[in-house]
Symmetry: C2
Subunit: 443 residues, 2 copies
């Protein structure tokens, strides 16, 4: 019976797993550099949780099920609702600001396409309980710090930043009613995703006045905060939001990542829940989907039964990122080893095979990695296997061992061979050598 | 609207996440010491896949769903079927033996109880395509190597090892028909889980002859392979299986883990798919469920539409393990930090707050971790925060900076303070210092 994987999911064979780990390790390292602590929740939650944040339309985009107890559950499509639930549960015990990151596995019942799969991993960072612009800057900085660490430069990626608060104030000044905004945001968010004519068409349907539409179109094209005042009169709210945004850019400059950042009024984000700064990072030259997006959201904790508390966060999926890293030549198929060894043990004399098993075990128990060939094979073939496994050193068991209790140790990088007394080698193993993996000693 | 987590799942707040990571890091390190390569599959597969391996009864133990396309899917309750599917798909391209490990998130729709949750993580190691006893020894060794690395000794855990092949040959010699074996295995597997009388009762129902039942009961109590021949005549199959088992114990002795290992005929494993060596590791003194279990299985790849190929593997869940590690005092609530920092920046003069943001960014961009206080606070309070974050060093920005461009660097371990020219500090940052996280430079 031949069974296949479900469409839109991925099998991670060791080479693909090495790429996934490399991406996740980079995310973790960047998170920790900026002081974020890791959390995670369950892979499924009550279906209702996602309806609260995204409305009933979300249901058909979810993998949902009813368990034996009759509970309606869903595999998580995002982790932000879980974050809100968890923070609310311990709200009085958690020191603030809460700076958490997570790398959840997420599932969405969408039609698989380029950069969008049914199962994926998403880096999330969130700062909860800090309203100053420094928190906005920290989230954008940490995101850029990761991208920079992979080798992506301002020529490759651009962080497009705007403010929902500013946009709301400007639209209000243009005579648009506040209750119209939730309808308008998803439309404005489509600007870069659809042809200009189509965008204008949709906008005209919502806003009858041609002059207003014209001003909005001009606003959407702005890449400098200085020019806003020439298009719309700034009321107090707009002035305050603009000052905050300018302060944010100043901070990002001071943090050394200003050359990645750009004001872009057309960044709106579709979701209703953003309330302040919004940003997306895009491929600077290609036409990929956004690499990541985020912003400030003030109402989510309250919507989940908690107190009113401000938050700012970012989510970056692995699919578009991996495509971009491959397009830029940063990620190549053969750059990441699936296995590296401290030692490989080769046997020049088959009667010494049991000795190889014994010595490998001693090396491993000392905290180093080691392998040997399960089958007897010519020495040359065993050395090839050692190379394929990226062994740093190969120990050759042969007549030196039987006649003089010596191991022949071959350095696989430079190719030199040295003889070492077995007893000395074993004694040296006990002094935790450089490069030994001692994660297990932490507890 | 207050929403709860689903019963039987866990929320991993940073302290719980630190424990989960510590366990997983230990599993990964042990796997890599023994040369296993990491793989993973999707969180859901076709429901049918689990029915092939475990029969239709498995369905009600699964979280299963029908997607919009009408496909019957299930959240994976184990990863072995995925392993079989993946290996079959690339069978001609994969070099053998295949030595893979994985740490899948798994879900089972069971009633939650001590050591058994609806969602858990399970370490899996498998060697496919190697029939020699060395592969059996490697799997058991790697498992023990991990447990030993946490600090568990032979006084804490015992690996109980037996052989399905041996058991089958002995039962055959006792006059039990081969087609009776699949019924008998799950019964014999219950021996240590139910009272002796109840076990005897069930056994008598299946085997009418009292003398045979008596011999089986004696066999089940054996802890030495030497005594088998005094209970049952050994046919050729039994002799061969016994010789293999004795060779396995000899190998485990030579590998230095013999004192963890013990022959135990009552280890049978319930699942039908084991065909050779079987083992379980148990808490040596308490009455916890098995910490892990495994064995040799020869037919799984074939059952999934692939070639006949032998395999040996092991699975260890995180729930029982964590209970055991806590009972032994190896894992304590306060041993694992949720955050460590290379630097914390404290501000003695609030006008220097923007400087803290700037300097923190420079430190992070150089690959080190750094934080600062978002709110202005007394210096003492900031230093307390630095301690709470496990900062190795705290940089104090004060009058030394304004008057002489100097940073005050406090070593948080020994408490000493030194003054460093800011320019010198920044120049030193560029030489990747010891302890810098450079995972991001691997690509």
């Amino acid at each position: 019976m031949k069974i296949l994987a479900v469409k839109g999911t991925r099998d991670f064979y060791p080479p693909q797993m090495a790429v996934r780990n490399w991406i996740a390790d980079g995310w973790k390292a960047a998170s920790r550099r900026s002081g974020f602590e890791e959390f995670d929740g369950p892979i499924f939650e009550y279906l209702q949780m996602y309806q609260i944040k995204s409305g009933d339309e979300i249901v058909e985009q979810l993998f949902h099920l009813t368990d034996r107890g009759g509970r309606d559950l869903a595999i998580r499509p995002e982790i932000t609702p879980t974050l809100a639930r968890m923070v609310n549960q311990q709200i009085s015990a958690l020191p603030r600001p809460i700076k958490w990151f997570s790398i959840p596995r997420l599932c969405r019942a969408e039609r698989p396409q380029k950069g969008r799969l049914r199962e994926f991993f998403q880096w999330n960072i969130d700062i909860i309980g800090e309203e100053s612009i420094v928190a906005d800057a920290e989230v954008i900085f940490c995101t850029i710090d990761y991208l920079r660490s992979t080798g992506l430069t301002p020529k490759d990626v651009v962080a497009k930043i705007s403010s929902r608060k500013l946009l709301a104030a400007l639209l209000k000044n243009l005579g648009i009613a506040e209750d119209k905004l939730p309808v308008l945001y998803p439309i404005l968010d489509k600007k870069s995703k659809i042809p200009a004519e189509a965008f204008e068409e949709i906008l005209k349907k919502e806003i009858p006045d041609a002059a207003t539409v014209n001003t909005i179109l001009k606003l959407m094209d702005l890449h400098s905060t200085d020019k806003i005042a020439s298009l719309v009169n700034l009321n107090e709210d707009a002035k305050m939001a603009l000052a905050q945004l300018q302060e944010l850019f100043k901070t990002l400059d001071a943090m050394g990542v200003g050359d990645y950042c750009r004001f872009d009024m057309s960044i709106v984000r579709g979701l209703a829940y953003y309330t302040g700064m919004v940003f997306e990072i895009h491929d600077a030259v290609g036409d990929l989907r956004a690499v990541c997006g985020g912003g400030r959201y003030d109402n989510l904790l309250k919507d989940f039964g908690g107190p009113a508390m401000t938050a700012v966060g970012m989510g970056m999926g692995d699919c578009v990122l991996e495509i971009l890293l491959r397009e830029r030549g940063i990620l190549k198929d053969d750059t990441l080893p699936t296995k590296t060894l401290d030692y490989f043990i080769a046997v020049a004399d088959t009667t010494l095979a049991p000795k190889a098993v014994e010595l490998a075990a001693q090396i491993r128990l000392a905290g180093l990695s080691c392998e040997f060939s399960y089958k007897s094979a010519a020495l040359g073939k065993q050395l090839k296997q050692a190379s394929a496994f990226n062994a740093r050193k190969t120990i050759i068991l042969g007549q030196e061992l039987t006649s003089a209790n010596q191991l022949v140790v071959k350095d696989m990088t430079v190719g030199t061979q040295t003889k070492v007394d077995e007893s000395q080698f074993l004694a040296d193993l006990q002094k935790t050598p450089d490069g030994a993996d001692d994660t297990h000693k932490k507890g």
